[in-house]
């Protein structure tokens, strides 16, 4: 019983967190630069460029991207690994394209770090292909 109550609380948190973030950023966008707001709610939008409208999508994308990863890994748990990896790459490429095109980070240095981070993750995911059915020979695969 206790376990179920806690479970539903966390389900609500997982679903409502991106929604809350979206509503908060949409309604309070004029006040986000205030020191009070930065101190109280700042961790939700830390580092993003507040002068660009498209930057506000970044915190929401942060949650959505993770939710999609979880959905791919859970719902596709019985799929061949190659398909799961392809879906993860598409998810990651969409996020990478957003970062590359809209440059939502305020500091140029952090923006470069973010892109470097994205490229590194992408390279790592591509490497996993080497261990899947895409390599025909089993000896080569491992």
């Amino acid at each position: 019983m206790f376990s179920k109550v806690i479970f539903f609380k966390f389900v609500a948190i997982i679903v409502l967190m991106p929604v809350w973030q979206w509503i908060f950023l949409a309604t309070k966008f004029e006040k986000l630069g205030d020191p009070y707001y930065r101190e109280t709610y700042g961790s939700g939008y830390e580092g993003i460029n507040l002068n660009r409208a498209y930057s506000y999508f970044r915190p929401i994308l942060y949650y959505v991207r993770r939710a999609v990863i979880v959905a791919i890994l859970f719902l596709g748990r019985d799929l061949p690994p190659g398909i799961i990896i392809s879906l993860l790459i598409i998810n990651h490429l969409l996020n990478f394209s957003y970062d590359l095109h809209f440059k939502p980070i305020e500091s140029k240095k952090d923006q470069k770090y973010e892109l470097f981070d994205d490229i590194t993750i992408l390279a790592c995911i591509y490497h996993i292909y080497l261990f899947t059915e895409y390599i025909d020979t089993v000896d080569m695969r491992f």
Binding site: F10, I14, S43, R66, R77
Partner: protein
């Protein structure tokens, strides 16, 4: 490495089943088992994160208790209140949920 990445630093797999009387703990499949999601039970999958969440809730309760009007003047109580609320409202909660979102989502969906 996986334990570190999933913030599972304490051996919760050993004492959670006894603590919450959890039975029939079987993994969904071998892949999830390898990633340390050893059962489909939410508390087991949350692991140490659940304890962090409890500590944050305790901090909130402590803050509310020390905010009672008749205690507000007491210096010692004020210190405890300042200590318990430091960075908790609301950056602490937001930071926790942002960092642990992936792990919590996994625990919930499994």
């Amino acid at each position: 490495m996986i334990e570190l990445a999933t913030y599972d630093l304490l051996p919760t797999d050993e004492f959670f089943p006894v603590m919450f009387n959890l039975k029939d703990l079987k993994p969904i499949n071998e892949r999830f088992n390898y990633l340390d999601f050893i059962s489909s039970n939410f508390l087991m999958n949350m692991g140490s994160l659940f304890l962090v969440w409890l500590i944050m809730l305790l901090q909130t309760v402590l803050y509310l208790l020390t905010s009672i009007k008749c205690w507000k003047e007491n210096k010692c109580v004020t210190r405890v209140r300042n200590f318990s609320s430091g960075g908790l409202f609301w950056t602490g909660f937001i930071e926790f949920l942002m960092q642990a979102y992936l792990e919590i989502a996994f625990a919930v969906i499994i």
